[in-house]
Symmetry: C2
Subunit: 452 residues, 2 copies
Amino acid sequence: MSQEANSGYKDEALSAITKAGCQVGDVIRVTSKEKTYEGILIPRSETADSAHIVLKLKSGYNVGVHITPEIKIEKIGRGTKPSFASPPLPEQKPGLPKAVILSTGGTIASRVDYRTGAVRSALSASDLYGVVPELSDIARVETEIVFSIYSENLTQKHWTQLAQTVAEHIKKGSEGVVIAHGTDTMAYTAAALSFALQSLPVPVILVGAQRSSDRPSSDAATNLIAAVQAATRGPFAEVGLAMHETLSDTVIAVCRGTKVRKCHTSRRDTFKPVNATPLARVENNEVTMLTDDYQKRDAAKNLVLKPEFSEAVALVKFHPGLDPTVIDWHVERGCKGILLEGSGLGHVSKFCFDSISNAVTNGVVVALASQCIWGRVNMNVYDTGRDLLVRGVIPLEDMFPETALVKLMWVLGQTSDPEKAKKLLKTNVAGEFSPRTLPQELGAKGDELNGN
Amino acid sequence: MSQEANSGYKDEALSAITKAGCQVGDVIRVTSKEKTYEGILIPRSETADSAHIVLKLKSGYNVGVHITPEIKIEKIGRGTKPSFASPPLPEQKPGLPKAVILSTGGTIASRVDYRTGAVRSALSASDLYGVVPELSDIARVETEIVFSIYSENLTQKHWTQLAQTVAEHIKKGSEGVVIAHGTDTMAYTAAALSFALQSLPVPVILVGAQRSSDRPSSDAATNLIAAVQAATRGPFAEVGLAMHETLSDTVIAVCRGTKVRKCHTSRRDTFKPVNATPLARVENNEVTMLTDDYQKRDAAKNLVLKPEFSEAVALVKFHPGLDPTVIDWHVERGCKGILLEGSGLGHVSKFCFDSISNAVTNGVVVALASQCIWGRVNMNVYDTGRDLLVRGVIPLEDMFPETALVKLMWVLGQTSDPEKAKKLLKTNVAGEFSPRTLPQELGAKGDELNGN
């Protein structure tokens, strides 16, 4: 049995499954003193430890079993072995718009219920296209694997590379760009690309899946189809994020990249617009705009690429008992920007005031967004807010903390001058600030959490 | 003009208003080169700077005006001078239950639109009672000012003192406890008291206001009345938080102290239950339970007071580009517990793995909750989660980060033994863990954000 057939396993795990005559894809039974599991032996990533094997259970969930000398492993059947060969590409239909699907990794790029950093076991974008043949009726799709890593391991450098790749495809004539992305940090990347890709001629749509495509409840195919529709048929030209709007499989919302947040660990409608309505809805193969306030698609526009992000930016979330010296430490480490995640209308405790003054004196840009997530900071209502304004803290209106953090990283990637940075931070670059609504207008929104 | 009449003003601000013959409560006009403001001159807190005066505008909002030699100040009328004398207490009606209102500060304890650390300008709990005479038909209310400070300045020490004060009043025969609190950190305090006050015989209800009681849209009175009703008539004996359930002024929800979060900067329905329904609803003077799963009121129960909280606990919110050495720094500073606010089902980047291992090796309890807020962590689904479990990270199920942080502070206030701490962290002490729901049950919840 070659090591290749037991992808990712090594040392004691490899030796145990080899001894039992099993390979990846087999249905096996694992018996320990306490428990018996039956399921398909699935591959592991290259970085996994060597003490566990992983079974995909009938329930669709995976379980890791610790290999000990007492564990008994039996092969009880032959599963569908995961195939890594790309299916043949469907015929490209002339007359359809030209789209590109860029793949970065994540659940949407995984046919079995795991994500992996190993290129071998990730589906390529071309596989995605192959397994969702409906796409060939929507667009002439080109594909490219940009990365194949868990989204929690993406950094500012990856945002830069991704923005550059999008720009290249748009320059080559793509009429819509789709990015398959892990959902964990997809909203951060959506915000990053919103700032990095300005004056877009066509839509750039991020898409992910909360359930992998081998599970009956998978949202991978419906999300991807809607994303390609929005990218190629949407009349807007902004960075959007396409995912289930509700638990229904027929309605996909496209939210503005700067106004969307992952709000549930597992639900398919996990991405919620914050202080905004979605940009558009995709339903019954139709793209419907939900707002008049958007940048129009226009092939004649010249994309402006500003892909640099600073790595010297920190997030400090305020909470009772916060040690304010963490702010001093960030300043000593050479931090150029600090995003305070304040409470309520924009407050932190008075114990932080000296450290904040010290940061500002040292040329650090200190900005504040509210940990409430929804609503708008107003630092003129209470003393604490005014005390922070006097100390030079920049209030970030109705931006929620994650978008605010990404914007601060982007701003300090554009300029190292604190005054220029503050000015740019307060400029509405990509719809990150919504118009101010009057307090009395709130009533109309009923009990939805998403009012402004 | 005495300094007392111009409460809180000093140096140049005091001299400017004295020269203009104005005092706190006067309607004044302030004219600068750019702008003219008219409004009531309101007091400032003792910690305020001396360069500004503050006007309450007709809109109900306050504005701070920087005093410069060019500024012109005129008295144009006499406003209602804020009165700090307590109105007479209404007659105590025999036969009604005995309740206590503890006051800690915050908007609910402020008749003008500011909060202050100065005791003089805060309303006492007895004032609260006086201005809401309806209370005398509900209960025989006793009042006590415990603190009078902005809620963002409360720390673990205040939680301890507050828990001790609640316990004293219950021992003295209070049949319901109400705590008036600033909304910024009210959910943190609610969680803290939930852990500190075990085996409660009667309800303990936190209550706040998003709009101060001198504004027509104030929620102060309705929230306070509902809180006293829930505290004295509710059949449950837990720590709850009573605020507007919707934008309607007639429906107040009481949420469990460990399952509630401030989710909007300004709306009156800002507090949302997370991964739970509210415990009870107060409407038309009736308290209705919304769940069967609660601790029953029972005067015979002996309150168990465990009011200690550790100060050596840090929150590290994961984000792309997080500098993992911040974890090492917390360990070097003597931190005993770290709450990771991970992404999705419970992930942080692989760049943090070494620092996390180092923390655990040094006896630090490292636990994880999801920044999604809603849903449940499941660190067995993906490699990253399993990699963190192997390194000793404790997954905190469906607790959201703020409650998880407070629990970690409380746990490390009970024991310094990491193994005992981990065990206590995983024990359901105050309803902070909800029962696990099956994935297929999610569908029934429709598009509400608050499904489990």
